[in-house]
């Protein structure tokens, strides 16, 4: 009797399917603006066969605005969020606050399988997996081979090459994003890591910043006062660095791989001599900054099982290929790089994979927002860094931030 009723109900439900969404759990994805994210979500909806339906919600364009909207909703326990697109630096903060779910069992196994080690590590906090890596990113050194035959391997090398170019009356600048924002922190973190140090201790509980940080500050100060420094260095973001090279004012830039596609579109005649090399170091090989985005599942999601499934689909190899080839976002699954279509869009893909081996992730701490804000405030403008004094100030302010005593400007 009960069984017949159940069957009848199921049949009615199946008959009721179609355009109406009655009964299909809606999974709300909150993600940064990305042109083809809806296409990726549609593909997953087709594959889900009615188990779930992903609704794409677009967050603000800037990272601070994205984080603010997410944390404000999570702090209020909003059940309308299921899958969250997170910057790689937010994992610790959201996990520690108890706002995102741990990935366990087969879900975690599927995330780990075939995923590159460095991006995977950005999704881990205190040994537990809290997100699924979606895209990654590394900076490379881009240079004009018509001006310099061999790419410099260190910041000192760029300064020397810039000196020679300037003396010869040629474009000499080496562009770095060094305005007072996250870009300056990214630069500092990579130079410190290249010098063999770190901003925080491995657990993220205490300030490290020893002798390597002092060397890093000396390098940044020297660079900001050298012939390589564009006069607008203290106001340069990634995009201004790209434009300076495209405009013919600069010979070098350290930047994300999107500059290659941009050069191909804006200045195709310069593309044949627009080359790439490994991120510069201090006195050995450099360690590139590590960027990217991960998917996490909200603690307050009412459909967490479906949300995990949806997130896994949104970051599977096919989805990552769409994001890579159509939106220029480097994949986190290693196998996607060997796809034939990738060779056309990513001629520099081996350099990206090499850089991912040694890339320097930013410090893992729940108070990353504060740590980053005070570092960029203390280091700006780079030309006025006074290494021992600046280091002492950094140690004090970052230490305060770790104790919840940091005040954001």
């Amino acid at each position: 009797m009960i069984r017949t009723v159940a069957v009848a109900v199921l049949a009615a439900a199946a008959a009721g399917c179609g355009p109406a969404t009655g009964g299909i759990p809606e999974i709300n994805l909150y993600n940064a603006p990305q042109q083809n994210i809806r296409a990726i979500a549609e593909r997953c909806n087709d594959r889900a066969g009615g188990r779930y339906r992903i609704i794409v919600n677009v967050l603000p364009r800037d990272a601070d605005g994205q984080r603010e909207q997410l944390v404000r909703r999570l702090a209020a326990g909003d059940p309308g969020l299921d899958v969250l697109g997170l910057d790689v630096t937010w994992t610790a903060e959201l996990a520690e606050a108890g706002w995102i779910r741990e990935w366990t069992g087969t879900h975690a196994e599927r995330v780990r399988a075939g995923t590159l080690a460095k991006p995977l590590d950005t999704a881990v906090w205190r040994g537990k997996l809290y997100a699924a890596p979606y895209t990654t990113n590394v900076q490379l050194l881009w240079y004009r081979s018509d001006l310099v035959a061999d790419a410099p391997t260190t910041w000192q090398g760029i300064m020397e090459a810039a000196g020679r170019l300037a003396a010869a009356g040629k474009p000499a600048y080496g562009e770095v994003a060094a305005a007072q924002y996250e870009g300056l922190v990214v630069w500092f973190n990579s130079v410190v890591a290249s010098a063999g140090g770190a901003i925080l201790t491995p657990g993220g509980n205490a300030v490290a910043l020893g002798e390597p940080a002092l060397r890093a500050l000396r390098v940044m100060r020297a660079y900001a006062n050298s012939k390589a420094a564009d006069p607008s260095l203290p106001n340069t973001h990634e995009d201004e660095a790209r434009l300076a090279v495209e405009g013919g004012r600069a010979a070098f830039e350290v930047n994300w791989p999107y500059v290659y596609a941009s050069m191909a579109a804006n200045r195709p005649e310069m593309l044949p001599y627009f080359k790439w090399a490994a991120y510069p170091g201090v006195d050995g090989p450099g360690r590139s900054p590590l960027g990217g985005a991960n998917f996490a599942i909200s603690r307050y999601s009412g459909h967490s099982q479906e949300a995990f499934e949806a997130a896994l689909c949104l970051r599977d190899a096919e989805s990552q290929k769409i994001a890579a080839t159509k939106d220029g976002l480097p994949p986190t699954i290693e196998a996607v790089y060997s796809d034939p279509e990738m060779a056309r869009v990513y001629p520099m893909r081996q350099a990206i994979l090499d850089a991912l081996e040694t890339a320097a992730p930013r410090p893992k701490t729940p108070v990353y927002q504060n740590v980053s804000t005070v570092i960029s405030a203390v280091l700006s403008p780079p030309a006025e860094i006074d290494p021992p004094v600046t280091l002492a100030e950094l140690r004090r302010q970052v230490g305060d931030a770790l104790q919840s005593k940091g005040v954001l400007p």
């Binding site: 903060e93 106001n235 005040v407 954001l408 400007p409």
Partner: protein
């Protein structure tokens, strides 16, 4: 007999007031008390396990922090300069519109237009106007200057936006004061040989003093809590934060309820001091 009735009426009055009082306590008293309690705690949403009572440590942190004092200085500067300019301009506008004979309604409506525009929308207008490449005002400056990316020009633009926006409000309040000045007094003074300036300083201003003080009190309290203009124009970059902006950044952006609430309490104290000074020292009559 009457005493008994008085008592009964008083009791009834209390009962009638009770619902409103309870609602006021619930919606204003409790949030203020709660934020005061939070300001005595280490209450950081990112460390839910490390919440504890820490006495006045948050106050020591905030009051010992240069960012807070920079924001306080910027707020004070914006308040004093913008309210001073608004008072002068508002008085001129009030005098002109009060004396207008032709199309008085039209003139008053036109003057009020900036006040009627949503502050955030107006602030975006100013922001784009001053952005190199898109703005008509930025185009008037020497090439390559981006006024919103430097402290002094950015603060000047914030003050300009504030003045443009709230001068009509000031003018409106002053106009009610002008209406209090008896016309025959001015005519009598004029008969006695007082010139225009003397009539203004010796008769109009003294009679308007209560209205001016109320207008100044309103505007000073408003200006001290300035938020939306700065949020849109610079969001506090290049040391242009006001106290409200810095409290917002720490409370909402930083998720640090302890530090953010401490700042809110300090802002409340500042506002209370401003009101006290106006009412007790200058003798502004409490509005209402």
């Amino acid at each position: 007999m009457t005493a008994e009735r008085d008592l009964g009426e008083r009791r009834l009055a209390l009962w009638l007031c009770a619902p409103a009082t309870l609602i006021m306590i619930a919606v204003t008293g409790w949030p203020i008390l709660y934020s005061f309690l939070l300001s005595l705690r280490r209450a950081d949403l990112r460390f839910p396990a490390d919440q504890e009572w820490i006495g006045l440590a948050n106050y020591a942190t905030v009051l010992g922090n240069p960012y807070w004092w920079t924001a306080f200085g910027v707020t004070a500067l914006v308040t004093v300069v913008s309210v001073a300019i608004e008072l002068v301009l508002g008085m001129l506008v009030a005098l002109v519109t009060f004396r207008t004979i032709v199309g008085r309604g039209v003139v008053r409506t036109v003057v009020l237009v900036p006040y009627g525009i949503v502050t955030v929308a107006a602030a975006y207008g100013w922001k784009y106007a001053w952005t190199p490449g898109t703005g008509w005002l930025a185009g008037l400056l020497p090439a390559g200057s981006a006024p919103l990316t430097e402290q002094a020009p950015a603060i000047a633009i914030i003050i300009l936006a504030e003045v443009w926006k709230t001068t009509p409000f000031m003018a409106l309040l002053l106009m009610t004061g002008l209406a209090l000045v008896p016309e025959e007094l001015l005519r009598a003074a004029s008969m006695d040989g007082a010139n225009r300036w003397q009539r203004f300083t010796k008769i109009v201003l003294p009679l308007m003093k209560p209205a001016i003080l109320v207008a100044l009190l309103f505007r000073t309290l408003d200006a001290f809590r300035i938020f939306d203009n700065i949020y849109v124009l610079t969001n506090g970059a290049q040391h242009t934060s006001s106290v409200s902006i810095i409290a917002y950044h720490n409370l909402i952006g930083g998720l640090n309820l302890g530090i953010g609430s401490t700042m809110s309490v300090l802002i409340l104290i500042s506002v209370a001091v401003i009101a006290f000074v106006f009412i007790r020292v200058f003798g502004a009559a409490a509005p209402g």
